[in-house]
């Protein structure tokens, strides 16, 4: 057991933080959010140049061959600046699924393009009845000749409109809540029958509901073995959750820094409001919540890269998400409260951080969902 950071890991986070401080300040970000696509191609190109899009992929595909621990600093920087480009959906989730389940040919067709920044991927998985149950897949894939025809509707597919390909979960056997019988397909976003209803999310990212209306895909679209997609989905969601935990740490740090600064500068009754003990103690609780979360983000990343067993991985990552979901609520709510009326406005970054933290708390399973999974594993 050790907490050592390699020079490379430190450098990755530091260089991204520097870039974001220079080229991705709050005003710049606002413009990107307001743009038609809601994300910036030049920013994405820079991510690729910096090697960020290569981080978790195998070296024989041109990747860096890293893991969640290597990505912690990057995710924290992304959280701090509230980057809206679909990095986690592409690199942490859909890319992970392709790499873990794809054939050599499928991987070679997709991953180098992702690494080069030429393309993005998204995971179209959640369905209206599913909440956080990853096995709740009603979308159907029916054999048609050598290929399949997909029917169904997915919702809140993060980064779907920016992606060239969607990884789609669909049922090839079994009932809607069975883990067995779920298969994964690589579907071109422009394929006939794929209809996207795109929208902005509360936290200023882009997502889409995806209608699959008789989408025909060839035999080469199936990722992994037919009917055996569930374990890969669970693993990829755990990996993405671990990354999200580090992103949350960055976002909470941003909220805490802004709040502390405000307590020191905002004056009422002739003194900085940070001299009031009632507010000091609340600020301390935010600080402690952040440090406890940072510890759990370390645990999540470490267990995503190598756990003693599958249940060790799942249990640890659920524990991290429970703690961090609770902390996201506390920190975001207190940050707004301590900012007073100004914290409610669009003008301050803290109201945007509030929205991001609110959504992170529920992304990939809220505290209740993970409490259920945590307790079930002993």
């Amino acid at each position: 057991m050790n907490f050592d950071q390699t020079e490379e890991q430190q450098l990755l986070g530091d260089s991204l933080r520097k870039f974001l401080a220079r080229d991705y300040d709050f005003e710049r970000r606002k413009k990107i959010v307001a743009s038609a696509t809601g994300w910036s191609e030049p920013v994405w190109a820079t991510f690729a140049e910096m090697g960020l899009t290569s981080l978790p992929f195998a070296t024989d595909l041109g990747g860096f061959g890293g893991g969640a621990v290597d990505m912690m600093g990057v995710m924290e920087a992304i959280g701090e600046a509230m980057v809206v480009e679909p990095y986690l959906p592409t690199v942490g989730l859909a890319g992970r699924l392709v790499e873990r389940t794809g054939s050599e040919a499928q991987k070679k067709a997709m991953i180098p393009d992702v690494i080069a920044g030429r393309t993005r991927l998204a995971f179209a998985h959640i369905e209206r009845e599913a909440r956080y149950n990853a096995a709740q897949v009603a979308t159907k894939a029916k054999k048609a000749g050598t290929g399949w025809t997909l029917h169904g509707e997915k919702c809140v597919a993060l980064g779907a409109a920016a992606a060239s390909h969607l990884v789609v979960s669909a049922r090839t056997a079994g009932k809607p809540a069975n883990a067995a019988g779920i298969s994964l397909f690589l579907v071109e976003r422009e394929a006939p029958g794929v209809v996207l209803k795109e929208y902005r999310t509360l936290d200023e990212q882009r997502a889409a509901d995806v209608l699959l209306d008789g989408v025909k895909v060839g035999a080469g679209a199936l990722l992994g073995d037919e009917g055996h997609g569930y374990d890969a989905i669970e693993e990829a969601l755990d990996f993405a959750t671990a990354l999200l935990c580090s992103e949350a740490v960055g976002a909470m740090k941003s909220a805490n820094d802004a709040t502390l600064e405000y307590l020191k500068t905002r004056k009422q009754f002739g003194v900085p409001i940070g001299t009031f003990q009632a507010l000091q103690h609340r600020m301390v609780d935010m600080f402690v919540a952040l440090e406890q979360s940072r510890s759990m983000a370390c645990l999540a990343a470490s267990k995503a890269d190598g756990a003693t067993s599958q249940s060790d991985r799942m249990r640890s990552i659920s524990a991290a998400k429970i703690r961090i979901a609770d902390a996201c609520r506390l920190v975001s709510q207190e940050a707004v409260q301590l900012h007073g009326g100004m914290g409610m406005t669009e003008e301050l970054k803290v109201s945007h951080t509030f929205r991001r933290l609110t959504m992170i708390a529920q992304q990939f399973g809220d505290a209740d969902h993970h409490l259920e999974r945590f307790a079930a594993l002993g």
Binding site: N2, H281, Q292
Partner: protein
């Protein structure tokens, strides 16, 4: 970074586990499991068993008998002691007075006091709080006046934990009341409890237990060689010591044992035909405490890791270990009491005998007793003040 244990670390854990199994006396283990009060000889017996093995002072440097363990080994040892249910090591000598002497003491003081602390020949207690000086420690009034080769000490200390077992007490006393800054007139004195003029009076807590005392000093003569560091610099010594005190209040190992016991109990305790552990309302509370404890465990390790890298004593933010550690301890005692339902009501003084089930009867008094944890060693509100001021700059 890798939070999994290496093969070597697992082998070390197994060695400790095996040794504890062989060497923890059954009567002591039973007392701890039943939350019974431990006497002076119980505590010293276990101390001496560990001292003989060379494991009693994991954080001490090798020259004074430390085993030379790294932070992970120290952590594993504490955790295994927690699992095995060993008596606690009394911190006043080992982890409070000793680090202070190693840092501030003279060679003579180190030679005189450190070996008996290590060997468990001398039982120490702490003389900080006074009736008028609780959270506001720097207002303390116990006076020490220099007369030739001695200080004459007059005054009163309170909340002196295990003072009735102690051979020695380390005290904060006022040697100068004329200074502008109150902290400047305080000195750190080591006092033999057998010195004429010292009276110990028990304070019985609401669980019926005797662990704290009042200690009265009436013209107590203390040789000047028992002054640690310089006269008037006692506050510097006290702050150094408090960092170590807070590092130890997390009590992760002991809380892990309590959690494991509670889970085992709640798995057997039936509630509407199902184990209580499967009751979602109970289980979610328990899981949240477990998660907080997991986070604290890692936070604690991160602190130790930072100390290892920077070679600095713990900073002000170590206060968070005290805040979280004590909140967790209280939650666990509350859930344990809740788990036994109506059986929490029969009261049994911890020293008395009765027909009640030992495990259930101890839980409500323990819940009462543990309310102390967020008050002692600097109340949790004081800890928040410290972080606000020192870490956040408010």
């Amino acid at each position: 970074m890798d939070l999994n244990y290496s093969k070597e670390e697992l082998a070390f854990r197994d060695e400790v586990r095996g040794w504890l199994k062989e060497n923890l006396p059954a009567d002591l283990r039973d007392k701890v499991a039943g939350h019974k009060e431990l006497g002076r000889e119980d505590l010293l017996r276990w101390h001496r068993i560990l001292a003989k093995k060379g494991w009693v002072a994991p954080a001490w440097p090798k020259e004074w008998g430390g085993p030379g363990w790294n932070i992970v080994q120290r952590f594993l040892f504490e955790e295994e002691c927690g699992y095995a249910g060993t008596p606690p090591l009394i911190p006043f000598g080992l982890t409070m007075c000793a680090p202070v002497l190693m840092h501030f003491g003279t060679e003579e003081q180190k030679k005189k006091f450190l070996p008996p602390i290590y060997n468990g020949d001398v039982f120490w207690c702490q003389g900080y709080s006074e009736p008028g000086s609780g959270s506001d420690l720097a207002s303390l009034k116990t006076k020490a006046v220099r007369e030739g080769d001695h200080y004459i000490v007059n005054g009163q200390k309170i909340w002196t934990t295990l003072g009735h077992f102690a051979d020695w007490i380390f005290c904060l006393v006022r040697t100068d009341s004329g200074v502008a800054k109150r902290q400047d007139g305080i000195s750190f004195l080591l006092i033999d409890m057998k010195t004429p003029g010292i009276t110990v009076r028990p304070l019985i807590l609401m669980d019926g237990g005797h662990e704290v005392n009042e200690v009265f000093f009436d013209n107590v003569k203390v040789p000047v060689e028992n002054l640690v560091f310089e006269e008037g610099k006692g506050w510097t010594v006290a702050k150094y010591l408090l960092g170590f005190e807070r590092l130890n209040t997390g009590r992760v190992g002991a809380s892990k044992r309590e959690l494991a016991n509670l889970k085992a109990f709640a798995a057997k305790q039936m509630n509407n035909g199902k184990p209580l552990l499967e009751d979602p309302r109970f289980r979610d509370k328990l899981s949240r405490v477990e998660v907080e404890l997991m986070a604290l465990e890692i936070t604690n390790l991160r602190f130790l890791d930072t100390m290892r890298r920077t070679k600095q004593p713990p900073g002000a933010d170590v206060s968070m270990l005290k805040i979280k550690g004590t909140e967790i301890q209280q939650s666990l005692t509350e859930l344990a009491m809740q788990a036994v339902g109506p059986l929490a009501q029969p009261f049994k003084p911890t020293n008395g005998s009765s027909d009640f089930d030992d495990y259930t009867a101890g839980l409500a008094p323990r819940y009462c007793n543990y309310r102390k944890t967020t008050i002692y060693a600097g109340s949790n509100e004081i800890q928040r003040n410290i972080i606000a001021k020192m870490t956040l700059g408010l």
